[in-house]
Amino acid sequence: MGLLFLLAGCSASGTWGWYVINPATSQGYNNIRFLLNGFGATILLSLIAAVLSMCIGLIVALPGMSSNRWVRLPSRVYIEFIRAIPLLPMLFWVFYGLPIVLKSMGLSVNIDAFWGAIITLALSDSAFTAEIYRSGIQSINKGQTEAAKTVGLNYTQTMRYVILPQAIKRILPPLANQFIYIVKMSAFASVIGMQELTRRANELVVTEYRPLEIYTLLILEYLVLVLIISSGVRWLERKMGSDESG
């Protein structure tokens, strides 16, 4: 609310120059198109990173619940280590450093801004998804695992048919939060030159000198994206909830 008053006050004093993104003018129209074209990259980047993060997270989480501490250890170390690295330094390391490491190992892989950002987001987020899986899986009553064992299921079958289908309902809301987090953090990809929402806004600001209007629109773009995701998740939760009781 405060922000709205502030914005209203600004407009009254003539601070605003909305012409820069006014679709009625050809300049504004072109600018808006330029900005909105960042949606595709932001969405694709976030989606791939989220899917990867969910896979890595599961692979990390499962051994983390072993009763054997030596099996648990690598998972613990991974989570603590990855969680401790801020996103931006990790992005720089992956984008500028990782190709050098790979090259020294004889792999000449070119990591472009798109994949650099995806790898970073997926790795960084996987430590959190791993913890989400762990708490979700551990919240399922131990009796379920025991019953699965007494009907002959092995570990993989127990996870696949008994534990994960029950845990997913509890895991889904925090996973959705993580997806929203990834969408927002994908803005960092702009600093390595990825043409997503934030990068485009920055470039336009440099040519048009209207940071207030352009960044305001940028924030609204993320807001719309996040609202769409969260309503999608609520729909999914309702659907799964009704399945359970039926």
Binding site: N141, G143, Q144, E146, A147, A148, K149, T150, V151, G152, L153, N154, Q157, Y161, V162, P165, Q166, E244, S245, G246
Partner: protein, 248 residues
């Protein structure tokens, strides 16, 4: 009985939970077709004992042999014994996200590679045996406690075990549902199933047990036929326990 393996042979079994010794040097033999009821105060190690038999708990010392297979830490022995032993839990532990039928067919299909049709046929046979075939397509949460426990029994039977373990199968039930579950267990007993049942239902014990085992403090204090056990308990501890439990 030389030459013929017992259903279950337990020798010198001990188990600790940290510093607490839950089982102290337990010896127990169960013959094929024998029905044993284990009773005793809570914390006496009854549940731990039967959970050791199907390796839901690992034991620290001693030997467990089921149908000639010695239980060690190898996956092969755990699986081989698991295939012989069925278990019914106090809290039923049905899979809440699956229908009753799916609860019954999951094990046979995934662990025994039965076809869906064969598994469903078998499931319906055992649901009829526990008198609730009409509930096959409901979810566990739509059934009463007694019905859920009967489904749990049927789920175990679907794996066609030679031995059934019951861990206080009626303790979580409302009183009016206890009989329907005990009737099913008695029915199984009369069919010659080898079983060990941990329970406080003394009427049931008299009706169904070949032998009573009384445990206290991680030890087997007394064993005997139901008539010896109820009418002439030998030890003070057992007398006290029976007095407490039969007063109500």
């Amino acid at each position: 009985m030389p030459g013929k393996a017992k259903a279950i042979e337990i020798k010198g079994l001990s188990k600790w939970f940290g510093d607490y010794q839950a089982l102290k040097d337990i010896d127990l033999n169960v013959a094929h077709g024998e029905r044993i009821v284990i009773c005793g105060p809570s914390g006496s190690g009854k549940s731990t004992l039967i959970r050791c038999i199907n390796s839901l708990e690992t034991h620290d010392f001693g030997q467990i042999t089921v149908d000639g297979i010695e239980l060690n830490q190898s996956k092969a022995s755990v699986a081989a014994i698991g295939a012989e032993v069925g278990m019914v839990f106090q809290q039923f532990n049905l899979f809440p996200h699956l229908s009753i039928l799916q609860n019954l067919t999951l094990g046979p299909m995934k662990a025994r590679a039965l076809s869906k049709a064969a598994a469903e046929k078998r499931a319906m046979r055992y649901l009829e045996r526990v008198h609730i075939p009409e509930q096959a397509h409901k979810k566990p949460s739509q059934l009463s406690g007694g019905q859920q426990q009967r489904v749990a029994i049927a789920r175990s039977l679907c794996m066609e075990p030679k031995i059934m373990l019951f861990d206080e199968p009626t303790s979580a039930l409302d009183p009016e549902m206890i009989a329907e579950v005990l009737d099913v267990i008695v029915d199984l007993a009369e069919d010659g199933m080898t079983m060990i049942c941990v329970t406080h239902e003394m009427g049931f014990a008299r009706r169904a047990a070949d032998r009573m085992v009384f445990m206290d403090n991680g030890e087997i204090i007394e064993t005997g036929s139901p008539s010896e056990f109820f009418d002439a308990p030998k030890t003070e501890r057992c007398k006290t326990f029976l007095n407490q439990i039969l007063q109500h």
